[in-house]
């Protein structure tokens, strides 16, 4: 008899999802789907609202990366105003981009993924959380909490709020950076670099130790996409979109993100609320591309800062042309955290960061605005059209996790084939499927513009469509 395995809810990710594994007559896995089963629709909520409200409204899409939505939205607003954003505002936006990379990656690595890595994929589920990590290695857990807190502190110090600040606006930002924040952050950097050295040491050992997981959790060639600056380093705030293929060959050296609709397209599938974007020239589904930490490092030629550059070179040696094993998203996240710390150190050294000249004012001058930036999980686009008075008539959001949708589905299938034995289901097998999804640190709140912590359900389904087994975790 054939079977379908469903994992629902998938745990330790942001949002609600379900995994269905299809089993053939012989009891082997012959297909898998990652469904996103919640829906919120910010693109609709935006309609008829003034564009000046968009940064504040879009910040509400996500409690983990509101800053990225604020920035992409503010940049779309800059374009609608047709102004040059003051340099101090750009520096602030860059600073908070880095602070958010730091806090979001710390959450993903230390809080959500390190339980599997430190305690093993077969450890009892009750232990596989940050408390379990703290019981085993309290210093490591504490370092993760401190790093995340530093990122949050910077966001709070600049905006006055930790989660949904009213800070970004079309034309700039709302206020100046307080001088005390600089001293406070600089004083915490040595401790933060040391914590990163320790985490990187462990992550590299894990990357050597978990060979079957590296092989079986999303290891396949695909396109990678990310924003890069003129120097070849990732430019999280204002780069051009570069795509490389699985061998690391440059497919497109520097596309204008404001013209994303010319080369990216989205496909909807009836079984998921999350759309499936692809690179148009290669068609659907061959145009599948990955985004996020690993992809950014695959398209870049350097990191542009000393410590991160050393780690970058090492990481890239783990692949031929490009590093295609999604397991290495973890390592890439750590490299990016180091880069974020170094860039923030540089930004704080720039006296203009504290300048109060942070806003350009203008009336509405354009009818279409597009803003992009690198969110922690990958490149993000906000695209608005407005009427002559500035009311939004159409909004399109292209979100990082959605762009990884095809790759996540492919990863789930690979991990299921590799680790799940349908006739002898064990918790650890399903955890590997979940862990494969967590490599992407998917944020389903963002990608369906929906809300909530992510529990996952797994169902095992036979060719006749009957559900043979079901695993659900809250």
């Amino acid at each position: 008899m054939s079977t379908r395995i469903t994992i629902q809810p998938v745990t330790r990710i942001e949002g609600h999802a379900k995994v269905t594994l299809h089993v053939d007559e012989d009891g082997a896995i012959n297909g898998a789907q990652f469904h996103v089963i919640e829906f919120r629709g910010f693109e609709k909520i935006a309609l008829g609202r003034p564009f000046t409200e968009m940064p504040g409204l879009m910040a509400r899409i996500c409690g983990i990366c509101p800053i990225s939505h604020i920035i992409a939205s503010s940049k779309a607003g800059d374009m609608l105003l047709g102004v040059r954003t003051p340099r101090a505002a750009v520096l602030q936006r860059r600073l908070l981009t880095d602070a958010q990379i730091l806090q979001s990656h710390a959450l993903s690595f230390f809080h959500l993924s390190s339980p599997d890595l430190l305690l093993g994929f077969d450890a009892p589920p009750s232990k596989r959380n940050l408390f379990g990590v703290a019981e085993t290695d309290v210093e490591f857990a504490r370092a993760g909490i401190r790093l995340r807190q530093l990122g949050q502190r910077i966001i709070e110090g600049v905006t006055g709020k930790r989660v949904h600040p009213n800070w970004g606006i079309p034309g700039g930002v709302l206020g100046a950076v307080p001088g005390e924040l600089r001293d406070e952050v600089l004083a915490r950097l040595p401790e933060s670099y040391a914590a990163m050295d320790d985490a990187l040491g462990r992550a590299k050992r894990w990357a050597d130790q978990y060979a079957p997981e590296i092989e079986g959790m999303g290891n396949f060639p695909s396109l990678h996409a990310g924003l890069v600056g003129a120097d070849g380093a990732p430019d999280y705030y204002d780069g051009k979109l570069r795509l490389v293929d699985g061998d690391g060959n440059v497919v497109a050296p520097g596309l204008d993100p404001r013209r994303y609709f010319e080369y990216l397209e989205e496909r909807a599938e009836p079984w998921s609320y999350m759309k499936f974007p692809f690179y148009k020239p290669l068609g659907y589904p061959n145009g599948m591309y990955r985004v996020g930490p690993l992809s950014r490092l695959n398209v870049a030629t350097c990191m542009g800062t000393e410590r991160a550059d050393r780690e970058f070179v090492e990481l890239r040696q783990r692949g031929g042309g490009a590093v295609n094993a999604s397991f290495h998203y973890h390592l890439a996240r750590l490299v990016e955290m180091v880069g974020a710390l170094e860039r923030m150190e540089r930004l704080f050294a720039d006296p203009e960061l504290l300048s109060a000249d942070v806003r350009s004012r203008a009336m509405l001058n354009e009818e279409e605005g597009i803003g992009s930036c690198e969110a922690p999980r990958g490149v993000l686009f906000h695209h608005y059209k407005v009427d002559g008075n500035g009311l939004v008539t159409s909004a399109n959001l292209l979100i990082a996790t959605a762009q990884n949708n095809l790759a996540i589905n492919r990863t789930v299938e690979q991990a299921a084939r590799r680790f799940v034995k349908p006739d002898a289901l064990q918790e650890g097998m399903l955890n590997r499927v979940e862990a494969a999804i967590r490599c992407y640190d998917p944020c389903l709140s963002c990608s369906t513009h929906a809300l909530g912590q992510m529990p996952l359900v797994l169902e095992l389904v036979g060719p006749d469509g009957t559900v043979r087994d079901r695993l659900q975790r809250e």
């Binding site: 008829g48 609202r49 003034p50 000046t52 409200e53 940064p55 504040g56 409204l57 509400r60 949904h164 009213n166 970004g168 606006i169 079309p170 709302l174 004012r361 009336m363 008075n389 500035g390 009311l391």
Partner: protein, 238 residues
């Protein structure tokens, strides 16, 4: 002129003939909640938040519209009144789309402040979620009907202080809307002088300066006192 002596919340007070209970109470430090009342404009009794109990009266009376009488005994803050006020605020919140988190007036909104001070932590009636428009046709200001509570302060300030009478309230019941120049787009109004007084007196984020982002709108009502003092006392003082 003989003053009137009365008791409000157990304290003896005096007021001028014709003066409202509301004014006398406020002048003596008893701050009755209110929404449609604004010092310097005539009162209309639209919101009913200032309701008080008057001994010997079976009905509750709007204190902003009720003149003081000799020997009156007034209570402004009984548990029953608190209950009524809370419900009124909940009804106001349910009637339109008041989404504080993404509102331009977040943090500086009289409705929000009142809800907080009355302890409104949830709304017990069903939200109506009406389809309301935003009028951004004026070059400097915007009107978001989603946030309007129909207090008519804008109507009165425009008529009584600016003398332009751009605003009115049109339509009936739940379809009532603030209208500009008999229902044209604000930007096309011939009577609007673009003075911005309506924006400043509006208690919520319904009227705002264009370009304001979430939580950025701050209102300054000091002009009203200045103008009223100038008009009544011929003193031009801040």
């Amino acid at each position: 002129m003989r003053v009137r002596t009365l008791e409000i919340d157990g304290q003896m007070m005096t007021g001028a003939p014709g003066e409202s209970i509301f004014n006398v109470a406020w002048n003596n430090g008893i701050h009755i909640p209110r929404m449609c009342h604004l010092g310097g404009l005539t009162d209309v009794g639209a919101c009913r938040l200032c309701l008080v109990e008057v001994e010997g009266q079976s009905r509750l009376l709007p204190s902003c519209m009720t003149p003081v009488r000799e020997g009156m005994v007034v209570r402004t803050n009984t548990p029953a009144l608190q209950k009524h006020r809370k419900l009124i605020v909940e009804l106001l919140l349910a009637e339109r789309n008041h989404v504080c988190a993404v509102c331009v007036a977040n943090g500086a909104c009289e409705l929000q402040d009142l809800a907080t001070s009355l302890g409104v932590d949830h709304v017990r009636v069903r939200y109506r979620h009406p389809q309301c428009e935003v009028d951004l046709s004026h070059p400097r200001f915007g009107l978001d009907h989603n946030r309007c509570i129909l207090c008519s302060r804008c109507v009165r300030v425009c008529d009584e202080v600016e003398g332009a009478h751009n605003w009115d309230i049109g339509h009936r019941g739940t379809n009532a809307r603030v209208i500009s120049d008999f229902g044209t787009a604000w930007g096309d109004s011939e009577s609007c002088t673009s003075c911005g007084k309506c924006v400043q007196v509006c208690p919520t984020g319904a009227l705002f300066s264009k370009g304001a982002s979430v939580g950025e709108m701050r209102k300054d009502r000091s002009f009203l006192k200045y103008i009223v003092t100038a008009r009544e006392k011929h003193q031009w003082i801040r």
